[in-house]
Symmetry: C2
């Protein structure tokens, strides 16, 4: 192991067999945390070649229970690198399934300031996010979609390595990030993936170039495993939807799925991701297909079917209401909204939702909006809601900010 | 701690207080090996500024027992970064002491392929290398010199960090190497130091530029602690003396000290180092003074006095004889000796001397010598001596190698 660390430290690429043996030895306890932490830092320093990422991904993917779908249509999955107010999975998964394409989404929990799809769904009374892999696969085959947590025995090497990287400052390594994402996707058994790599101040990757590099690596390595893949780099310089919390984000997703008046950002990106998923399994005219599924209400019906299959029901879903207590955040001056701090709002919302699943934050403005003094910028919901705590998250200045695209980059098909 | 690792990873310099608190927390067990290993690798990546090296040195120096000399003349010390056949300490320490300059040398054990001065001295029957710090200082004041091991309670932070770096591939960091060397020198309480930084294939630093950088850092940081210092960068592209082992190196040192026919390399460098030590404490005409001490036999008398003070005697010293069993290594072709592999010879000698303190290797040739087929290149001594095992360490080629200086660089006085 020391030799492997030294070689990576000196900028060499390690062979596939070396990566396999490092991961196996780490899981068996023959390589300890100190050696693994040093190796991870050397990876952050020197980077990983595509072949190394593929080998590490494979070694981690087979470290625990894996899923392989039996005969039947191809299964598609999507992944977000983590954002604030990101309700794309809640919308795109049932939309795609309502077009008779099977979607199996194994999902992580909230991490740092970003939300977790499972945490959101569990705000629906009765919803069961923890399925066994076999129950998960059965549900995908039976109703066309499922969203569930990764079990403890699913890719344990990634869990162990991620925790170690988190406490030893070795998280920001594109190669290690790619292996972490891909190991779970490969082990999850889907045939095609859409990767939504967020970039901007509210994402883990702030820089568009770094996000684009990650997007390209994810697609190339997924293809090395014989899977189809597409990646988008999308904006997280402000929250995606207008709601930040758990139940409050489910409510916003339902508004989009029911075709009610909604903020266009979350809807547009959900449609775009759904179309990319449909395209990967060969659906012609994917954009229009996704749009029709939304407009017809079929996506919403599929969402209800999934909620029912996992222990919730229409009443539980439709009785979700935002917390009755709220405080308004108001503009202390006139001017243009120049930034909306997703990290601060994400952390605040996570604190609010620890005990109350219908607490959270709704923002009323977007970057670029002009506001007058006293205008409502956001509403904070919950027994402990304090408008003052998030006031500084929405910045107002004299000049309008430059405009940013919602989608920066998409890999070639 | 995670924040400190992240800052170093991103190339920032950490404040003195941060370094002090990292070392204190590590020793108290609040920072674990994984975090420390990641930080060490980040240091290898980003380097350390002089202020950081000074702070880390101080934090480690005060992590255990320290020595402070009572009133009396200044004490001088020397340090070698580790080599093969390096008998300079055995010669220079008594030479300098015989000029009425106090020398206190706390010494490490053999490391890797390099020899340790204490291991060599303990080949003398009765010699006691383990002195308490107070007994050590008393001997320096009483007879003018002492060479002893570092006790377990001496700079424990360096011991712990070095072991960790060793198994996590984080040894080659100039800043960490400098802190490791200096923490022990500063804790050892001497007023002036000569650093002999070895470079070449038989040294830990192979590159002259890197060795020169280390030499300059050692001097600058020592001066930041108010100590006088000088550094040399000297050649280790072949073993320094002709003997490699433990007792066998003591025998060669005695030959030099008694003024008998000796290989000039070890004698010349010892005189040079001794002169630098004398100069640091203000002795005029240091070169000539050192030479007179050698030629008069006063250096040898002082060596005998030191051996007696530490439990050996003249009979024990002068009865040291090389092992009676030997095998010759002979040239398999005619040509010029182009290289003599100190790493291979050092490892072979350490294996031979594990059980037999008078085993080892004597080389008969120097790089640049012309040899005929069948000439004796070296003699291997010991019950398990096998000439064949070291044959490939001495390379013979058609063309002579370029010449190398013995001393590449010396810091300004």
């Amino acid at each position: 192991m020391r030799r492997a660390i030294e070689r990576k430290r000196d900028g060499e690429a390690l062979e596939a067999g070396t990566w396999e043996s490092i991961v196996a030895s780490y899981m068996a306890g023959h390589v300890d945390d100190a050696q693994m932490a040093a190796l991870a830092m050397a990876c952050a320093w020197r980077g990983l070649e595509l072949g190394e990422i593929t080998a590490l991904t494979h070694a981690m993917a087979i470290s625990g229970e894996t899923l392989k779908y039996d005969d039947g249509p191809d299964v598609v999955d999507k992944h977000s690198s983590g954002g604030v107010g990101d309700i794309v999975s809640l919308i795109a998964v049932p939309l795609v399934a309502s077009c008779d394409v099977h979607v199996g989404k194994l999902s992580g929990r909230a991490l740092g300031h970003t939300g977790g799809t499972i945490d959101k769904l569990e705000a629906i009374e009765g919803f069961e996010g923890a399925l066994s892999l076999s129950a998960f696969a059965r549900q995908v085959r039976r109703i066309g979609c499922a969203i569930a947590t990764q079990t403890d025995t699913f890719v344990p090497a990634d869990k162990q390595l991620y925790r170690l990287r988190d406490r030893t400052g070795a998280v920001p390594s594109t190669g290690l990030i790619a292996s972490s994402i891909l190991s779970k996707k490969i082990a999850g058994g889907a045939h095609a993936f859409v990767f939504d790599v967020k970039c901007g101040d509210g994402a883990f990757m702030r820089d568009t170039d770094a996000a684009t590099e990650l997007a390209q690596i994810l697609v190339e390595v997924a293809r090395a495993f014989g899977r189809r893949a597409q990646a988008l780099v999308t904006d997280m310089s402000e929250p995606l939807g207008r709601s930040i919390g758990t139940g409050i984000e489910v409510i916003e997703a339902c508004i989009v799925l029911r075709g009610e008046t909604a903020d266009p950002r979350a809807r547009d990106l959900s449609l775009h991701v759904a179309a990319a998923m449909l395209e990967l399994v060969g659906i012609a005219d994917a954009q229009a297909t996704a749009r029709r599924a939304l407009e017809s209400g079929r996506g919403y019906e599929k969402f209800l079917e999934m909620v029912r299959a996992q222990g919730g029901d229409r009443r539980a879903l439709e009785s979700l209401k935002v917390h009755e207590r709220s405080e308004s955040v108001r503009a202390t001056r006139a001017g243009y909204v120049t930034s909306i701090d997703g990290v601060a709002l994400g952390h605040a919302a996570r604190e609010l939702t620890v005990h109350e699943r219908n607490a959270g934050i709704r923002i009323r403005v977007r970057a670029g909006d002009y506001v007058s003094k006293g205008d409502e910028l956001a509403v904070v919901y919950g027994a402990r809601a304090e408008a003052a705590r998030i006031e500084s998250a929405i910045r107002i200045e004299d000049d309008p900010p430059g405009s940013r695209p919602l989608i920066y980059f998409g890999t070639a098909r």
